[in-house]
């Protein structure tokens, strides 16, 4: 492995200067890895099963009374992180600690069975799709009262009173109008209110809300966020708000953690993140939001490509293949060379593609992540001239900085890249950011 890890700070994004911080949930170097089952043949020959690092060494704390946003694209691990907080996804390394207002701290990642179920009276979840989160054959009264029944909190008549109270709390008034209804009788916004009522009925301390408004109509999204803000103040809740939508996070959250491919790449106070986004990924996310303002166009220099395969992440910084500001040591490798050639071929005439493809030959040799790779079968000089043409097309392409040497080898060339650095979260100004552009606190 050519990438060298470096040191991590304790609980990033907390703002060490604040002194003692009252955290209600703490993640310490949390990892959730999944083994991919290989095919029967692979197992037979003992070939290594692939591992997806859905969450990979995340350290952060949820402060009492705050809304912490976890923002990222699909595949960033944000949903897995939310599920792990509730013990719904097993931690493969690291720990999650819940510190209730009263009583002893509990290590969520070690709880099993009944103890884990009891945790749900304190930590609850609001799901993305309210239609899928509600049983279509259960009345609203039964659905909202179900947690009471499961945890044996109240007898039937008392349960009915608590259910009515919870419904009124979330704005479903008069509750009598809704108690006997089924989910199919309600609108999307009303269903999400029912899901929220069910989540707060056990009087929890923490709500994990995974995209709670993304399935709702524009006209009610603000209303549901307003409801959640009201509940937070009235019931003394803390929220983890998981979303892909930076605009709602900007409005809703006190602090924001930006995730990319299982890692937190930037974390800090919302105002600071939006005023001075530091990580190139954060900057890209902000620039990509289409605003309903005809005078503001989406930026031209957006990252290309998509979030990479988590089972075979890029070397160095996971974001480097898409990063417009990548440096020579960001982890350039064989697969980036393949992507570069393919992109080059979308620009050239089909005849030129056919000729160049014959010189380069099979691209399969570039698929294993290495920093030194042989390329081409049609002669060193010809391969070099193809690389030169690709380079001439776009000299700004950051990959070229990462090339240490191109040497003649076999019937082609050997391309050697600089070894990459896998950046850890480090303090930069008011936030923590994992990017080589911010080597240490410049004391802003």
């Amino acid at each position: 492995m050519p990438t060298k890890p470096d040191l991590t700070l304790d609980r990033p994004g907390d703002g060490a200067a604040d002194g003692v911080v009252d955290t209600v949930v703490e993640l310490d170097d949390l990892s959730v890895h999944y083994q991919l089952a290989g095919g029967a043949l692979a197992r037979l020959f003992g070939l290594g099963a692939r591992t997806v690092k859905a969450v990979d060494g995340v350290t952060l704390g949820l402060r009492r009374g705050e809304v912490l946003g976890v923002v990222g694209e699909s595949g960033s691990g944000k949903t897995t992180l939310g599920r792990a907080l509730l013990g719904l996804a097993p931690a493969t390394a690291g720990s999650i600690t819940y510190r209730p207002r009263e009583g002893r701290p509990r290590i969520v990642s070690e709880l099993r069975g009944a103890a884990l179920r009891r945790l749900r009276t304190d930590l609850q979840m609001v799901f993305q799709d309210p239609s899928a989160a509600l049983n279509p054959s259960m009345t609203i009264a039964d659905a909202v009262g179900d947690p009471l029944r499961i945890h044996g909190v109240a007898k039937a008549p008392e349960r009915r009173r608590l259910v009515a109270e919870a419904l009124e709390r979330v704005g479903l008034t008069p509750a009598d109008r809704f108690l006997g209804k089924y989910p199919s009788d309600l609108s999307g916004g009303q269903k999400q209110r029912v899901v929220i009522a069910r989540a707060i009925i056990l009087d929890p301390e923490v709500l994990i809300a995974d995209e709670p408004i993304s399935m709702l109509d524009m006209s009610v999204r603000a209303k549901i966020l307003e409801l959640m803000l009201g509940l937070k103040d009235d019931l003394g809740l803390s929220y983890v708000y998981i979303t892909h939508d930076l605009a709602s996070a900007k409005f809703f959250c006190d602090r924001i953690a930006i995730m990319y491919l299982g890692r937190v790449v930037e974390i800090g106070p919302t105002a600071e993140i939006f005023a001075h986004p530091r990580h190139p990924y954060t900057q890209a996310l902000l620039a990509a939001i289409p605003e309903p303002d005809p005078d503001r166009a989406v930026a031209r220099d957006l990252p290309r490509g998509e979030i990479p395969d988590a089972a075979a992440p890029p070397l160095g910084c996971s974001f480097h293949p898409r990063c417009p500001q990548a440096t020579p040591t960001c982890g350039w490798e064989s697969r980036d060379l393949r992507a570069l050639l393919e992109e080059h071929w979308t620009r050239v005439h089909p005849d030129q593609y056919a000729a160049e493809r014959a010189v380069i030959g099979d691209l399969g040799g570039l698929d294993a992540p290495v920093t030194s790779v042989e390329l081409g079968t049609g002669g060193a000089q010809k391969v070099r001239s193809i690389l030169d043409r690709a380079r001439a097309e776009n000299a700004e392409e950051p990959l070229w900085q990462g090339v240490e040497a191109v040497e003649d080898a076999g019937s082609g060339v050997r391309v050697r890249f600089h070894p990459g650095v896998d950046p850890a979260l480090r303090r930069a100004g008011g936030v923590d950011v994992a990017c080589v552009l911010y080597p240490e606190d410049a004391g802003e």
């Binding site: 694209e73 699909s74 704005g171 479903l172 008034t173 809704f178 609108s187 999307g188 916004g189 009303q190 209110r193 709702l216 109509d217 524009m218 006209s219 009610v220 999204r221 603000a222 209303k223 966020l225 307003e226 892909h244 939508d245 930076l246 605009a247 709602s248 900007k250 409005f251 939006f274 890209a284 996310l285 902000l286 990509a288 939001i289 289409p290 605003e291 309903p292 303002d293 005809p294 503001r296 166009a297 989406v298 031209r300 957006l302 990252p303 290309r304 998509e306 979030i307 898409r322 393919e342 992109e343 071929w345 979308t346 620009r347 089909p350 593609y353 493809r357 691209l363």
Partner: protein
């Protein structure tokens, strides 16, 4: 109004008083209820509105892709031909040839057992049976090149591509037969924000390369501002405002357009706004202006008479009494323009 009666000669699609309805358990659902508009050659027209406003039904209605039991009425002219009086066979020939559709979820539209190259061959052969193999490959690779898919992936299977690439392939597959008009129904909703931005940005290039007019259906007003030349705002089966996208966003005339813009959460949001109540039942919509029960500007007349389409000073066509009143062209008496006493809308009566 003259622009409406004599559609511009460069209109690819002209709909006049178009209606689409289908059977529901409580009676006919009037999903599209008398819309009049045109799509001009090479333009991107945005169509926005809340879910259930009829925007998807309108998009499918234009192409005749409606479920069994749905009916169309009014007039719909595509490329100079009356579509509603066409035989099923003629309509099918028109679709895919001159008309195309891009769907929200590309994976469900691509056959997992067919290579990308086979998808293109099949599409091209249906519409241009005499095309030689070499030419099929040339046209396919050219379409893929424009959407940024490398030729090295031409013989790959759909599952070997990421979500964004699949949607690019779908777009290339729709455009390769060079349709005059394409309906794109939420084409980027299933994609991540960075990929969405790439594709939206790409739409302008595509329009120029393929000379295709497009109806872009979306709930995302930001995408309309980014990609569209004009925008139509739909509410309860009707187009309530249509005009130049910049003008509509800068000076929304219809109260619904203004409230929809205000309730969108954007980076500029510093306070929460929303529209009370829910869109009406399309089986029995309210009388007068259909937005009046939720409208903060509602006057007495709004609950009684349907506002007519009027072209106002900024060039937008609007059906709104309050907009007419502001422009001083309503001709309403003091009794009719008095504020409407509204029933209280419950907090939870929402969309």
């Amino acid at each position: 109004m003259s622009a409406l009666q004599h559609p511009a000669s460069d209109a690819v699609v002209t709909a006049r008083d178009l209606r689409v309805w289908y059977a529901g358990p409580k009676g006919p659902v009037r999903a599209v209820d008398g819309v009049t508009f045109e799509v001009r050659k090479g333009e991107i027209l945005g169509l926005v509105g809340e879910s259930g406003c009829g925007k998807s039904t309108l998009g499918r209605g234009l192409l005749g892709l409606l479920p069994e039991g749905a009916a169309r009425d009014g007039s719909l002219v595509v490329g100079g031909r009356d579509v509603l009086s066409m035989s099923a066979k003629e309509a099918r020939r028109l679709r895919g040839g001159e008309l195309g559709m891009i769907f929200q979820e590309p994976l469900t539209r691509l056959n997992p057992l067919m290579r990308v190259s086979d998808h293109f061959a099949e599409t091209l052969k249906v519409h241009e049976p005499r095309l030689p193999r070499k030419e099929i490959e040339r046209r396919s690779l050219e379409a893929l090149r424009v959407v940024g898919i490398p030729p090295t992936r031409f013989r790959a299977y759909p599952h070997e591509f990421s979500g964004g690439m699949r949607q690019r392939i779908m777009i290339a597959l729709t455009l390769v037969v060079r349709p005059a008009f394409v309906v794109a129904d939420e084409p980027t909703t299933a994609l991540d924000v960075l990929v969405e931005a790439q594709i939206i940005r790409n739409l302008h290039t595509l329009r120029a390369e393929f000379d295709t007019a497009m109806l872009l259906i979306t709930h995302n007003l930001g995408i309309v501002a980014e990609a569209c030349d004009r925008v139509a705002v739909m509410y309860a089966g009707r187009i309530v405002e249509i005009g130049d996208a910049r003008e509509v966003f800068r000076n929304p005339q219809h109260s619904y357009t203004r409230e929809l813009l205000r309730s969108t959460i954007s980076l500029e949001t510093d306070g929460l706004h929303y529209i009370d109540g829910a869109p009406p039942d399309l089986v029995a919509p309210p009388p007068g202006c259909r937005f009046h029960p939720r409208c903060p500007d509602a006057m007495v007349v709004c609950a009684q008479r349907t506002p007519a389409d009027k072209v106002l000073a900024g060039g937008s066509r609007v059906a709104c009494w309050a907009a007419e009143e502001r422009a001083g062209v309503s001709g309403l008496g003091p009794h009719e323009s008095a504020p409407l006493e509204r029933e209280e809308i419950g907090v939870a009566d929402e969309a």
